[in-house]
Subunit: 137 residues, 2 copies
Amino acid sequence: MQEFYLRKIRKMTPCQLIETKEARGIEERFAEKIKEIEARGLEKHLKDDYIVCLLDGGKEMTSADFSLFLEKRTLSSAKVLTFIVGGFLGLAERIFKRADVCLSLSKMTFSHELCRIILLEQIYRSLTMMKGKSYVK
Amino acid sequence: MQEFYLRKIRKMTPCQLIETKEARGIEERFAEKIKEIEARGLEKHLKDDYIVCLLDGGKEMTSADFSLFLEKRTLSSAKVLTFIVGGFLGLAERIFKRADVCLSLSKMTFSHELCRIILLEQIYRSLTMMKGKSYVK
């Protein structure tokens, strides 16, 4: 499903999916250490990007809000737009601090695999709306 | 992904997925007719079920709320719990009227395929929480 939406998005705009390494072999009670290691993996890929972090309790948007947001970003800046989905324990605080927007997809908590698919579907939906095509609900 | 969650759910509880027929070959401007035909397909499967309809603008729940809701339903009634996800144009009004709860997964609008996967993931997550297992976030 991820590949399905990625292929569709890439027909309209360049889109890269980067999976950074999970910190493995560390007990869950050392959550901060795990998030620290994972943050370093993420930071290697962040330059002067416009960053959107997915976060429980972040800003909720309707699909129309999200589409407007994407359109505004595309028009107002040449910066790369980067979405960050955290791992099992979430993201280190300094990644959130670096974010331009913290976005919540739902009041519900989804697995990070599912977050990625939902995000790709919303990006595809938005690009389609921007191009004035009708989108299958 | 749908099959993945279905298999996991079925290890814990009986779960049936029924796909009713889409009304095809009718122009979209005859939306009410399409929804009417699709409603008839749904009604064949509804008996004295406790019905949850997925609806934009329905009640939003956190994963913990949803888990409590499922637990309460399981304990308080022997009724079959049925979730209804509408098609391309949504559901006929009389289906909503028959619903015990209208649930919204997000402020965003998702495709019905994605709604189904999200719902299955949340049901699996809830069953796991009920059984006191830790769930991968």
